[in-house]
Symmetry: C2
Subunit: 334 residues, 2 copies
């Protein structure tokens, strides 16, 4: 048996079935964007980690060392945002060959340090080790969330509006540019999409505002594509989700690139991943008020992209046609 | 500039000088065995991490996958013990090639799960990724420590007794066996030393008892050898340390192996590392009482191995001769 047979998620389920030995020290274990641990009377502690491997998660000749560092923390901060929280500290384990230029590793740390400074999180510890070849980075993040602001995947309610905080598919469009360097897209558009791919921003400012809203229920960050994240919410909440195809927000740059490359930009939005926007569900009567405040503060709107249904499954709706979105369903998407 | 030029510690100092951006969320940052973070009225939160790389930190054809998992957590629990705390949770990031046997990785998890169960810590999260070649494990650990039980490296006081919780050098002796398989040592002795190397135990039970003692000051776990840990305490506390050569506890097995291999077992104790015993300092009037209780509970004694001096530096004392122990001073040791 190897990973190809049962997949990453199957394997994780298998090895983590026996993981809680001290129930008083855990609120929510494996299965959401972060673990939730007891902290004090008013707050929970959030914790998450991600490991990035050279030539698997990033290519050193494509993104800059600064961007590799920045993104390694951004993806973890995004997990904190997805729980309704804010980051307080990170631990950085970094492995690289002895011969590696230290200037390069210092630039990785500069990216890490800059995003930590931007979002008021401390670098509290770490480990520095040598590898036989290639760069390895593991970021562990801690955060806090007020108890009343904690939002789990499992909290979607039937008839909720499904919304997202911004354009989807830009990161995958950026990756398309990386893979096909000589595309006839304007330089400015290229740069914008590449930045979305190499240096994404976590929605930490956005979640501060979402936390003030009435009726906010489930929340997730879009790391694996909208289809996968909607499925996680639907399954955890024991409901279904309908997404309106023509409401999925796409940037002009992504649409333009799609025309040039003859790709479907919706595939980028649904299956591309790494956009690190938030997708959430909110009581249908509370969305408009939240959106009005959101527009005032951020000068852009939230996107109402679907609704929570009693009927299970995740469906894409177009011209009154319903297409079921399968898990990892790139091939099933017409 | 590369790592060979300035060394791991020089590099860490260089990149972490700018790491605190939110002082209210940190008690002790980089520089001790764990970071210390605010938790609640009575407790601090402890956090630490370690990254292990195949063919750098372990060889898959030498230790079992179970032992690799067990030890990866043990070294982190040892850091928690070194602060006076107890572990509450771990996050496990694991990377391995897609073709890797999953049975092997499951055994790694079994080792992780067993030590977590033994010490009442939860597995709260993690990441599973693929690598191009070789196994990579990062363990992040959280723990708690009562505020009055926190022990830092910087707390040694002049005239304190320096003590350790057990034999030193066994892990390095075990490594000697790994590297020279055909040694004429009894099978039982071999196995004992190999176990110390491959499956060390953190001193979590021991620290519970140490925490009850009056006059306990600095504490450190012996991950890099007694010389290095004593130096860390001395430098952080702005004092000196004298170690009595003939008081350093060595197991009979290590002494026997040293005879066979014509090695000096004191070198294993001073520079070998990975023993994960604790070294601490305690007010000289409080050691005997602690040791009496310790003997009752554990059926073995603590070892009084030296004292804290006003004169800076770390010295080895033998027959009234003082030899300064340099940092990383294997070559300087006669």
């Amino acid at each position: 048996m190897n990973l190809k047979d049962i997949g990453e998620f199957g394997f994780i389920k298998r090895v983590t079935k026996d993981s809680i030995f001290n129930p008083s020290e855990i609120i929510v274990g494996i299965g959401d964007d972060c673990a939730v641990l007891p902290l004090d009377e008013k707050n929970y502690l959030l914790a998450s980690c991600d490991m990035l491997i050279e030539n698997v998660h990033f290519l050193k000749n494509k993104s800059t060392p600064y961007q590799i560092g920045y993104k390694s923390v951004a993806v973890n901060f995004s997990d904190i945002a997805a729980m309704g929280g804010y980051p307080t500290g990170v631990m950085i384990s970094i492995g690289f060959p002895k011969e590696n230029s230290l200037e390069e590793i210092e630039q990785v740390y500069q990216g890490i340090s800059d995003i930590c400074k931007k979002y008021n999180a401390n670098i509290v510890g770490g480990d520095t080790v040598s590898t036989k070849d290639g760069l390895v980075i593991n970021v562990s993040v801690f955060g806090k969330v007020k108890k009343e602001h904690l939002h789990l995947r499992s909290e979607a309610k039937i008839d909720d509006i499904v919304f997202t905080t911004g354009n989807l598919g830009d990161s995958a469009a950026g990756l398309e540019i990386v893979l096909n360097n000589d595309l006839l897209l304007e330089e400015q558009s290229k740069e914008k999409l590449l930045l979305k791919h190499y240096q994404p921003e976590p929605c930490l400012k956005e979640v501060e505002l979402l936390n003030q809203a009435r009726g906010l229920h489930a929340l997730n960050d879009i790391s694996d594509g909208l289809a996968s994240e909607a499925r996680e919410i639907a399954e955890a909440s024991n409901v279904g989700i309908e997404i309106y195809e023509d409401k999925i927000p796409l940037s002009n740059e992504a649409k333009e690139l799609a025309l040039i490359t003859k790709k479907n930009p919706l595939e980028w939005a649904l299956y591309g991943g790494e956009d690190f926007q938030l997708v959430g569900t909110i009581h249908k009567d509370d969305f408009e008020k939240l959106n009005t405040t959101y527009e005032k503060v951020f000068n852009r709107s939230l996107y109402n992209i679907g609704k929570v249904t009693k009927e299970k499954g995740v469906f894409l709706i177009k011209d009154n046609q319903r297409t079921q979105l399968k898990a990892g369903g790139y091939n099933h998407f017409a």
